[in-house]
Amino acid sequence: MKCQKCDRPATFHITDLVDGEPSELHLCEECAQSFLAPSQEEAQDVMPAMAGLLAQHLAVGETADELARLDQRACPVCGITFLQFRKQGRLGCPHDYVFFEKELEPLLMSIHDQTQHVGKVPKRCPHGADQQTQLIRLRREMKEAVSSEEYERASEIRDKIREIEAGFREAKGE
């Protein structure tokens, strides 16, 4: 397959959203870089490096189909899709590190050269943090239940939230 912008072979297959519709782009390395290189303003940030790394690790070896499917995956806690993460370079919630673990691994490896934390450990709740993160999902579901007038479900969710919060207060010894 040839690059859509020049005649070199296309090695990058990028799924972009055009007017809300996913559209596929097939580009050579050079054109992919300039496509992924953000505007002047964003270029002041770490984004170019990030976007470049992402493209490198996601696009190579993925068919457009695979990538499109991957891009549609959404975190059950915060709702961010992988495509949204790829575009903004910012994750949506702590659970994304678990949910997109496989996809993030090569990225973390190229940024840090390591994937095991060895530094400071929080004094409180280092194990319970992921359970707390579930509160994000529950609060979101409660809001949805309220707005669709499913009050019974909303109150069930509220009880669950209170249960988790109480558990943490106990652990804190309050």
Binding site: D45, C78, C93, I111, Q114, T115, Q116, H117, V118, R124
Partner: protein, 362 residues
Amino acid sequence: MTLDDLASTSGEWLRGSGPESDIVISSRIRLARNLADFPFISRATDADRAEIERILHGRVESLRTAGKAPAESLYLKVSELPEVDRQFLVERQLISREHAQSEGARAVVVDPSERFSVMINEEDHLRIQVMHSGLALNEAWEQATKLDDMIEEQVTYAYNERLGYLTACPTNTGTGVRVSVMLHLPALAITRQIEKVFKSLHKINLAVRGLYGEGSQATGDFYQISNQVTLGQTEEELAKKVADVVPVLIDYERQARSFLIENSQETLHDRVSRAFGILRTAQTISSEETMHLLSSVRMGINLGLIGDLAIPTVNKLLIHTQPAHLQKLSGVELDQADRNIERATYLRRHLNGESKGNVSHN
């Protein structure tokens, strides 16, 4: 204490003292932290941001009541501040440009001596930063981790045993620590060796930025060197990596200065004297030109070519001649043309007839 009180002072990190402070302006440690039970900022609703700000404000207040945080520390709701005040905080390096310009509820806690600030709802829920004058990374790290512990007594951080502290951007995850030193390297710039130095820093995974943080052009030969990696090494190791390279850079800069003194003393002396002369007599002057000339003057003082001016005064002028500072100090809003006139007036007032070592405050 109010934000307006800050305008007339100049903060711990500009004190111009501490080890190697002729070349090392300041040392800084920043920690990125997030609350476990809220989405990161990019997915947070307005209500989430307001709630995060409310919770953390409560924590700060309880630390203050418990006597753990300075009673004098300022809590500023950045989202409610006028543009000029936000810009002022950026110039003072108490908040980032991103924090000043983004949307939704956000705040900053400012230590009265400006040794630390805590940004709420920046790219991460919390950005704790500690600043010291001169080369003092260990001291800065010790204070930062203590502040971190104090805040953590009251909240649960997003954390994962394998990946450490979880941050909105994967480039910060792990320790969430950014260790940086700000260096003044004018001789390396004059002798055109600076590019070479930067390339070798990039090779060992250190980042170089200008005076005002991410991506800004280095103005006045001030450069910030910091770690890029945050995962897989301890905070102490990361700080050491930055600290280890500083003596090398100091040595290069000193060599370049000696080279200039030996080989072109007249040219160098001329450059410094002209810079000083323009700053003392100009009637209108831009911020860029001011930074550029103050950089030469600062080096001139360190080389003994200017005798009647103190380094802390130059450090203070570098900050006080920035656009928002000028407006805060003069108490009126000024457009660019008026700022250039006000800046020249301010410089003349502070550089003419100042006695030795005197740091005046107005």
